[in-house]
Amino acid sequence: MAILSKEEAQAILTKVLSFSTADECVASLSGTDEGNIRYANNAVSTAGAASTMSLSVSSVYGKKVGSASINEFDDASLKKAVERSEELARLSPENPEYMPMLGPQTYDESLTYAESTAAIDPAVRADMVAQSIQAAKDEKLEAAGFLNNSTGFRAMMNSKGLYAYNRNTNVSFSVTIRNQEGTGSGYTSNSFNDASKLSTLSMSKVAAQKAKTSAGAKAIEPGKYTVILEPLAASDLVGWILRGFDARSADEGRSFMSKKGGGTRLGEQLFDERISIYSDPLNPELPSPTWEGDGLPLKKTTWVENGVVKNLSYSRYWAAQKGVDPLPSSWGMIIPGGNSSLEDMIKSTERGVLVTRFWYIRSVDPQSLLLTGLTRDGTFYIENGAIQFPIKNFRFNESPIIMLNNVEDLGKTERSGNILVPPMKIRDFTFTSLSDAI
């Protein structure tokens, strides 16, 4: 078992630091138990399980840092790791951007661990997959999917008295269901800390339904369309935005957050006023650790409020350069939505395209955050408030910055991967060519 309790991890790390003779020393201990099953053509193709635990030690003299890692935990090995990191630190070049370690911090109790997930064993995993395969077989369809669950911990202690610990669980599932003729395909995916929120059966039924309804797609002309993005499709695009919220890149002039003539877009109205973006480690639907890599506490942070950029993230080094407080970048992103259901959004659409998901998304131009990619696994034509027929997939070239200025409506927020996002109705979304892929 690679999962140590807060006290067990503390005992090992205290011992590690007792061997230290450097100016500063930090030791991190982490472990993961995980298991997975992969299947295709309604049969398991591979299955695996792994249990890992490792310790890394960084010692510092002045601004010279050396690190070592081990996966053995007897006293002699711990001591050797400390000595090795000290030896390396003495010989390393100075890191001009090194920041002294933090002292003790206070953290909120995180919500990232769920017993329901930690209890998953190979038999439960096999059952979860069997339900998915059965959902496909019942409809004479073919399922290919991947189920992965993990339980992990991470603990960090430094010579200035900081100790941080977090324990987390995660289960992620994705399934593609296709008809036997290869003319229709559906997909769902999601991940949760709490496995009781995941049903492989109901998710597989959604994918099966899409496989059937997407068959026999017709081609319509590419161009600018009103689109309704299901939460998965919306999260595929908006997930790119927070990468630009790094103050240093913006200050240095190499991000879409940089401003003409110098400076940043902090304080500017960059999105439609219905768009707000925040992160909150204690949100029960999207919990995250309450501390980040170097020990800074993670708190609820507003990044965008009513379309205005409210915060950029500052590393401790860059904050010191700029004379501001450090602000860690966030894990997870929350976009509050409205009250419309997906059905309401379709009903109010005269002519548009319903998108299940996007695929193979790549940055085309970081200056505008222009992205390209394709629709996949269920794209439908809407006219006069109703879905008319499935359509062939499109390639898009669109920037999520521009897209979030073209908001028509937002639905109810739900979890999609590591984002809480509403379904979105967006006007003038740019499709540039057709694809024959199914």
Binding site: N41, S45, A47, G66, S67, A144, Y360, N397, D436
Partner: protein, 545 residues
């Protein structure tokens, strides 16, 4: 310590700092320890434990991979070292067939007891999963080949070069770019050594020593007044070579082309200086008018288009649906291959799969199923003639042997079908790039890999690049920006109008090609000569926010 003193240090001096988390099972090592070897007779003894346990517990087939995967990465930024890490991952993976089904288990405790336990676990997994099986595994025969060895033919082991010397080279490249007016520059050097031992119940014992290297950088130029920035990446290729790749040779110049290119020797200092000039020039370059253009594509660019549209579409596991939930399937369905007349491209298009090509990333002596490396046609005179297969797929194509495309990225990953080097053959007749450009009335010459995206069945793609030059009436007249082209795979390869001869042939490579769940990486090369494509749709990617 002063930088100068630091640079004098040998490899003994460094472990790691400030790089991202280690991959599971990898540990940081003294770079000098990378030069240690594990005795082959010990590996054989350990492998036999697994094979004997597997047979005694009812396996009809078993293979063992004892792998030591060494990885050294050096990352720098302007005048400082951003990260420097040497890691080793060492362990054993055992794969068995029991009750007609595959089972796999791995351990990082490389001793007889743990290997025996892992083998028993692999058999238990095989038997447990047999209930989900639709038909038993059918392996193509592979005769035992006895004890064999193979090593990448390198001149200079990168792991023997002192770390200080490698750091100095990267920092010098950064300085070279800064001196030419770059605002920012990051540079990296990736070095990999796979020491792989394979044994199977067929009677094969194969010891291999595989090397790969990739020097690369990104130079950024910024224009504060306009708020614009542009980057230019290095024009190196990742190679299946040693450190000799970084010994500058003669650059490769093409008449009428304003870019210095490289073949099997790379001059990082010269390229970094040119990159800074290019990045600055890009800021003021003309934004492309969208429309149809003839494209003249340099091998360093075309390699990625070959990779995505030919390499991935001819992977048999994709064709069969095994990658449906992740990478996708393929438009090259079996009926197209069976027809023997599927027109993938025009008759100029000849593509080979080749695991023997010297200097390539995919070159090995044997694959991770002990199958000897080979070479075969995939597209012949424009017609689809073959795929890429492994032992449990060969029967589907009626082949009596695997094509040797099995690979795992670690001892603890399950080996599966991965792409061999897939390369476009050059013109058999003498054909110079300069003469090809003279034939283009309205076109764009593209160098280097840029943005890329392709659908899940490999029909529709879009590619950018590093450098774009406008061709007008047979001459390159200036730099363009905001260029991307879109096409359909079959239409694109049927639009190939011309290709240069073997004097222009060069290797493109990709170091971290992802596939599978859990995802595994592999490295693969794609050779070609410069080729001319007629009437391809070009879009303008410039936007204002």
């Amino acid at each position: 310590m002063k930088r100068k003193d630091f640079l004098k240090l040998t490899g003994l001096s460094f472990g790691a700092y400030v790089l991202a988390d280690l991959p599971a099972f990898a540990k940081v090592i003294d770079p000098q320890a990378a030069l240690d070897r594990i005795d082959t007779s010990l590996k054989k003894e350990l492998a036999d434990v697994a094979l004997n346990v597997a047979k005694s517990k009812g396996a009809t087939y078993a293979d063992v991979r004892i792998g030591r995967y060494l990885n050294q990465t050096i990352a720098t930024q302007e005048k400082r070292v951003r990260g420097l890490q040497s890691t080793e991952s060492y362990g054993v993976g055992i794969r068995v067939i029991a009750d007609g089904c595959w089972g796999f288990a791995a351990t990082d405790k490389v001793d007889k007891d743990n290997i025996a336990q892992a083998t028993a676990l692999a058999i238990a997994i095989a038997k447990g999963n047999a209930r989900f099986m639709t038909e038993p595994v059918r392996l193509a025969p592979q005769k035992g080949i006895g004890e064999q060895t193979w090593a990448t033919p390198i001149e200079k082991n990168p792991f023997e070069v002192p770390v200080g010397e490698k750091v100095e080279l990267l920092l010098a490249a950064n300085q070279s770019a800064l001196d030419q007016g770059a605002n920012f520059v990051t540079s990296n050097l990736f070095m990999i050594n796979e020491q792989k031992y394979f044994a199977s119940t067929d009677g094969s014992y194969v010891d291999q020593d595989v090397h790969r290297i990739w020097p690369t950088f990104t130079v950024t130029a910024i224009d504060r007044a306009s708020g614009k920035f542009e980057t230019r990446d290095s024009l190196s290729a990742p190679m299946g070579m040693g450190y000799e790749y970084l010994t500058p040779g003669s650059p490769y110049k093409i008449d009428g082309v304003p870019v210095t290119l490289y073949k099997d020797r790379y001059d990082i200092l010269a390229d970094a200086a040119t990159a800074a000039q290019h990045a600055k020039e890009k800021i003021g370059a003309k934004s492309v008018d969208p429309g149809k253009y003839d494209l003249v594509l340099d091998p360093l660019h075309l390699g990625l288009t070959i990779h995505e549209s030919v390499g991935h579409s001819t992977e048999l596991d994709r064709v069969l649906g095994y990658e449906a939930n992740y990478a996708g399937t393929s438009f090259l369905t079996l009926d197209k291959w069976e027809s023997k007349n599927f027109n993938f491209g025009n008759e100029l298009v000849n593509v080979v799969a080749d695991r023997t090509q010297p200097g390539s990333l995919g070159a090995v002596g044997y694959d991770d199923e002990g199958v000897p490396a080979g070479k075969w046609d995939v597209i012949k005179d424009g017609i689809l003639v073959n795929y890429q297969t492994i032992r449990d797929q060969a029967h589907i194509l009626g082949l009596d042997a695997s094509q040797g495309c099995c690979y795992a990225d670690s001892w603890n990953s399950i080996q599966f079908q991965r792409m061999p080097n897939i390369s476009l053959l050059p013109n058999k007749n003498s054909r110079k790039v300069a003469d090809m450009i003279k034939n283009v009335e309205k076109g764009i010459y593209i160098v280097g890999r840029g943005s890329y995206s392709i659908d899940q069945q490999r029909y529709n793609f879009q590619f950018g690049g590093q450098l774009f030059y406008e061709i007008n009436n047979g001459k390159i007249v200036g730099m363009l920006k905001d260029v991307a082209y879109q096409a359909n795979t079959q239409e694109f390869w049927n639009a190939m109008a011309d290709i240069a001869d073997e004097d222009d042939y060069r290797l493109f490579g990709t170091f971290f090609d992802g596939k599978g769940q859990p995802s595994q990486v592999s490295a693969v090369s794609h050779g070609s000569s410069t080729a001319h494509f007629k009437g391809i749709n070009v879009i303008n990617t410039g936007r204002t926010i």
